[in-house]
């Protein structure tokens, strides 16, 4: 545990820690997590025991350190709320599904008079999506490569607007990340796509 404590001090994690405290709990009640022998858990402190029951018997220094570093998305105490883990797991799965559910997006193509809409969810990956776009708008975009984007002398390049409002080249990020961050698609004219990975 000493190694972990030293690590903590170096990074001064406590000062930079993001914490969602539940209302009514004073910060002063927080127990310093380096106290091994104390078992007092000030709700909603994330303490070293929150590793989950499967791992806890083999909890290693490294794991505890990771726990300190990982920013909790919601403050949780192991054992609270008293909901069966089976139920919790069911609902976690459902939330994840709901977030990825039926994604209808607008697709525009430079020069085309009107937009189209596609459901991203029906495609299993980039090849299928790109083929569908090619069929829909009757064009070809060439092969994707990480270094050069879409080459093969293609006139058009598939791009998308992500959650942050930035225009990105389709294909750079893993598929799952893409469907959760993509807001709309735009088949951009090659000349405008300079800088988005198009070989000129």
């Amino acid at each position: 545990m000493e190694g972990c404590m030293a690590f903590d001090k170096e990074l001064n994690l406590e000062a930079t820690e993001l914490r969602l405290g539940l209302p009514g709990i004073k910060e002063s009640e927080k127990q310093p997590s380096s106290t091994i022998k104390s078992n007092k858990r000030a709700f909603p402190n994330m303490d070293e025991k929150s590793c989950g029951s499967k791992d806890s018997s083999k909890a290693s220094h490294a794991q505890k350190c990771n726990q300190e570093i990982a920013s909790p998305s919601k403050a949780q105490v192991v054992g609270w709320p008293p909901v069966r883990s089976y139920r919790k797991n069911c609902f976690q799965a459902k939330t994840m599904e709901a977030e990825a559910a039926g994604v209808y997006l607008k697709v525009s193509m430079d020069g085309a008079p009107y937009l189209r809409k596609i459901d991203l969810k029906i495609y299993k990956g980039y090849p299928e999506l790109l083929k569908a776009l090619e069929d829909m708008f009757k064009f070809s975009m060439g092969e994707y490569s990480e270094s050069e984007g879409y080459n093969n002398g293609s006139e058009f390049v598939p791009t998308y607007e992500d959650k942050d409002g930035d225009w990105m080249l389709v294909g750079d990020v893993p598929w799952d990340m893409f469907i959760s961050s993509c807001k709309r698609l735009r088949i951009m004219k090659g000349s405008e796509a300079r800088g988005l990975g198009c070989a000129v």
């Binding site: 091994i36 909890a59 054992g79 909901v83 609902f91």
Partner: protein, 573 residues
């Protein structure tokens, strides 16, 4: 009574169905003990480590039905490490070696392996019923063995288990000659099953009365199954999603009209609310409705459905029903006896949750209510006092405020008086769970008034040892006490060591007790197993440092001493 032949005594004892009655009868005299033990067929063991399989077999050679519970209740909430124990294997091995003609096995919170299931399926020719609740450690291969080998299987009931799903072929392992099924519940399985196999199985099971499907079973299959099983009493749907304009859906609507026997409805793990109207015709017959996994049904659709269920006695629902929805329940379901409201967002504080308003409305509209599990955003003393007055018949009252130390939402006071009113008014209260800002005072009320209390669950409550002492001294019928994160220490723990032999178990985690207190207790009470669950790295906790606080204490009475299968991180003192 000495002049009655044993057969007469036995015949009289036959009328005693409850375990407690039979246990009591066996204590009257050695004759009664003898007659009772030879005629006993059903045994309930609330803690698998309290007794050994060998002793069980010796005492009850006529055993046919065994119920076993393994891990402590808090294992449900991840407080008990994965390999803590609770293995069913030694029980099945011992029973298999003996001449016991086991017919039913019910397990809760136990570790069950495929090997165990295989051995079970091969060892008892007359095996009829397997019920597994919150168990883990097995796969669908184990289920395949049960299906294939238990020729007279009537009941296979899997509730909320963690099962490794290898494939759907286990269902096909029921031989064509198997026609005895009355109850099949595989709702907790995550994988695909073969629809055709399922349809054939249902078709050859004329006695099927209870069927709960998993998510993978599509609506088309549901419709075909219902055609084959019009006498079904208990139905759990699988995927309830379809185009409401389709022929399949219309067929379902017609088929459901023939299912006049359905009284229990659950499932809807995946649901398109537009398909709900198909079940409207049977709503009036329902006595049990479980929509607690139907996250896809919201507010107004939920209410439309419940308005039709006037005869409900048991309702399990998500808190997205809201206070308004509970008002509808209150005005519609006047026969309601049991209500469970689960959080739809267990990992956070959702905006959809219910409050004290919903509970008060229920207490007004449902005077027969005796069992409650209520996850809510907030509560007030005034509401609890009103509920206590309206519903004096509570047997089980479990309130869970999602923020566990929240005070009365209006007065900002502790909720002591509210719970005090509950225990004072509900003279038959057997089970109680408390949350909210609570001081020692609430425990004083409990000790004073909760005379029938058998199980108490407490978290983040109390100020001092006095709290726990009030309960230990006052609740004469207490059997299970489970405490997390309360400031109770050695003083409370050691005040009445003998009390623990009158109880099944005590759990204390994240309290103020120390190793020294636990060691003292263990020394005083040899017939208790005092187990410390020590999850920290072994090197950090020094067994000699008696002053350190104990993270998790689990103690239970036992006739067979410390268990031999305890893992490294469990210390038996």
């Amino acid at each position: 009574m000495n002049y009655f032949p044993d057969e007469v005594l036995e015949h009289v004892f036959d009328f005693l169905t409850s375990h407690r009655d039979r246990n009591a009868v066996s204590l009257v005299c050695s004759l009664w003990y003898r007659v009772e033990r030879f005629s006993r067929q059903r045994v309930f063991i609330g803690n698998c480590y309290a007794i050994s399989p060998e002793k069980l077999i010796k005492r009850f050679p006529g055993l046919k039905s065994l119920t076993l519970k393994g891990k402590h209740h808090f294992a449900d909430f991840n407080l008990v490490p994965y390999d803590w124990g609770g293995y069913v294997q030694p029980w099945i091995e011992a029973l298999a070696k003996s001449r016991i003609g086991l017919e039913e096995l019910r397990l809760k919170r136990m570790v069950v392996s495929d090997e165990s299931l295989e051995l079970l399926s091969r060892s008892f020719a007359n095996f009829k019923a397997l019920v597994l609740v919150s168990c883990e450690g097995f796969t669908t291969d184990g289920l395949a063995a049960i299906a294939a080998n238990c020729r007279f299987l009537r009941e296979l009931d899997l509730q909320e288990n963690e099962i490794d799903d290898h494939s759907g072929h286990w269902l096909s392992c029921f031989p064509d000659s198997c026609t005895s099924l009355t109850s099949l519940n595989f709702a907790c399985l995550k994988g695909e099953i073969n629809s055709a196999s399922l349809e054939r199985l249902v078709a050859r099971s004329p006695n099927l009365r209870s069927l709960r499907l998993n998510r993978s079973v599509p609506l088309e299959t549901l419709q075909k199954i219902l055609v084959q099983a019009p006498l079904l009493v208990d139905l759990g749907t699988g995927s309830y999603v379809h185009d409401p304009d389709s022929e399949t859906y219309n067929k379902l609507k017609t088929t459901i009209l023939t299912c006049k026997s359905i009284r229990n409805l659950s499932g809807f793990l995946e649901v398109d609310p537009r398909c709900l109207p198909a079940i409207f015709p049977i709503c009036l017959n329902l006595t049990y409705l479980n929509l607690s996994y139907a996250a896809g049904i919201h507010g107004s659709e939920l209410i439309k459905l419940i308005r039709r269920c006037a005869k409900l006695q048991r309702l399990w629902i998500l808190d997205c029903i809201g206070d308004k929805g509970l008002e509808v329940v209150a005005s519609t379901c006047n026969e309601l006896q049991e209500l469970r409201v689960f959080p739809s967002d267990p990992l956070g504080i959702g905006h959809d949750a219910v409050t004290e308003y919903g509970l008060v409305a229920i207490s007004i509209g449902c005077p027969k209510l005796h069992s409650l599990l209520y996850f809510c955003q907030q509560m007030t003393n005034a509401a609890l006092i009103t509920v206590a007055r309206n519903c004096p018949n509570f047997i089980r009252f479990r309130l869970c405020i999602l923020d566990p130390t929240k005070p009365d939402a209006v007065t900002m006071q502790p909720l002591d008086d509210g719970f005090g009113a509950i225990v004072q008014s509900c003279k038959f209260l057997r089970r109680l769970s408390l949350t909210g800002l609570l001081t020692d005072q609430v425990f004083r009320y409990i000790g004073m008034y909760a005379e029938q209390l058998e199980m108490l669950s407490v978290a983040f409550a109390g100020n001092s040892d006095k709290g726990m002492l009030y309960v230990l001294n006052g609740c004469k019928k207490l059997r299970k006490l489970e405490i997390m994160d309360c400031p109770f220490g050695n003083g409370a723990l050691l005040s009445d060591a003998g009390k623990y032999e009158t109880m099944r178990s005590l759990w204390m985690s994240s309290c103020e007790i120390t190793l020294s207190g636990c060691k003292t207790l263990a020394k005083m009470m040899p017939r208790l197993n005092v187990e410390i669950i020590n999850e920290h790295d072994q090197m950090e906790i020094c067994p000699e440092d008696d002053g350190q606080r104990v993270g998790k204490l689990y103690l239970y009475r036992t006739l067979v001493g410390p268990r031999k299968d305890a893992p490294e991180f469990v210390w038996n003192l």
